[in-house]
Symmetry: C2
Subunit: 324 residues, 2 copies
Amino acid sequence: MAFNKPSLEQLAIGIDIGGTGTKFGIVDKEGNVLFSSEMSTKKHATIESFITDLHKNITPLIDQVGGIGRIKGIGVGAPNGNFYTGTIEYAPNLPWKGIIPLCKLLQDEFKLPVVLTNDANAAALGEMKYGAAKDMKDFIMITLGTGVGSGIVANGTLVYGHDGFAGELGHIIIIPDGRYHEGTGKNGSLESYASATGVRLTTLEFLKNSSTPSLLRDIPADELDSKKVYDAAMAGDQLAKDVFDYTGKILGMALANFVMFSSPEAIILFGGLTKAGDLILKPTREHMEANLIQVFQNKVKILVSHLKESDAAILGASALAWDI
Amino acid sequence: MAFNKPSLEQLAIGIDIGGTGTKFGIVDKEGNVLFSSEMSTKKHATIESFITDLHKNITPLIDQVGGIGRIKGIGVGAPNGNFYTGTIEYAPNLPWKGIIPLCKLLQDEFKLPVVLTNDANAAALGEMKYGAAKDMKDFIMITLGTGVGSGIVANGTLVYGHDGFAGELGHIIIIPDGRYHEGTGKNGSLESYASATGVRLTTLEFLKNSSTPSLLRDIPADELDSKKVYDAAMAGDQLAKDVFDYTGKILGMALANFVMFSSPEAIILFGGLTKAGDLILKPTREHMEANLIQVFQNKVKILVSHLKESDAAILGASALAWDI
């Protein structure tokens, strides 16, 4: 008999720690971000000063919703965040080295329960709680940004694996002996092709290995990025279109492999590259289907996240807090 | 206070339906196969005659353990067996076409609860209940026989996926545009390399594309099989050793991808190819490690199943019955 909402509906805090900045906000159960703000990550040389400032910045938001009594808990998404241990472990893009006991530090500061996972897992939880994967029990989230991140949900639960680090799908080898990845030292990983960085590298290769006329030849190499390749493709540039076809071919093959692994209901894509729309989605879908064995064909949806990009990271992190 | 075992300890029936024969047995909770037997699958043109004969053949075993009152249920492993629906769907190697409501037919005949899954998933459950994966919550089972099968356990549960068909790791694409697979019509799948069939095809390719002297050149192509390649390698034949190195390289790369997907505690290998021991395991381990990003390195065990091959299929199927 829920005619009246209780006046003190529980809320959750979501914190997304990135290499440059940290976003945070207070979220209700329907996924409305009631209040949010952000601060610098990289200006904090020590984790202690980061935590102190974070507390200082979040406190006014908590006051605005009526005090800490309304907050169920804090969910945090961070690179190399380990759900099991509550620690951030050797994150190359964060200013704090080694193993950081993030959950403990935040709990001591806020006097609230805290749960941590990596940013792509948090994104998957956000989609399951508020987004395109609502009510799904089996799906895979792929974030296509500067890099490629992922979160896998099976049987209604995030797959953390034995050590808490499952779901590093950006690093699976898709082209044996393929393109070198400077960050990992490995060859042929999905991330080295199907990311904004990968699109840029593919374009440079295509420009070098062909003499096809292209709008992109007028752009200095160090100014070329995936957005400019997109603009060229939309203006009808064939080489730019070929770059997206090639990227979609590789991404589609990888998605087929993921489907044959965990047989998801859908694959949810998020991030900068998805803005290329059908330029990348069409070849991706085609090549996914072409590489699937019959039993999986024409079953698995490829969906693009419809969460607002500015809210998604906070929503994803906050989704962790509801199951505390 | 379990000083005395109850005299009527519960037992389970395991049935493994293969293309040629069907094995069945009665198993206790410790994984002892108390009684077992087998019968032909392919001689039964209709599923009805198969079920009738199966009942006729299992009844004497049930009588030997003291009657149906001691049986908790029946677990069945079968190709294309769907856990959710209890049906066998379009299994190319079985005599019965279309969708077979196997669980319903067996329940009606035996008056016992019946659970079905595919053979590789059953093998994974067998390892978790009685074998090398005892007490593990996250592992991957890979069966390396004529083909490549797999079962994935995450968070202590088999991953069935949205449609019940998860874990078709034999069909992931590992060499883009690689070897053609006659059964699926796809190119470059793991199964077309890392199976007994794959080892044979690799050997034929290596013999054709080189003039290296080899013991294998004396064997007519239609008599060549993975066992003969193994024998040649053990006798010091370099080409035969190269075949196993190549197979292990591809298998190792695939295992690295699986690790980056679900971060298992161990990968359990089972089946004919594992008899090649270090000939295949050494390159597999090396190439798995070489393709893993740092966070996964030197963590994941590759174990060979120690279940008796003659018992394993029955044990795996029976493991399904305990959770009924």
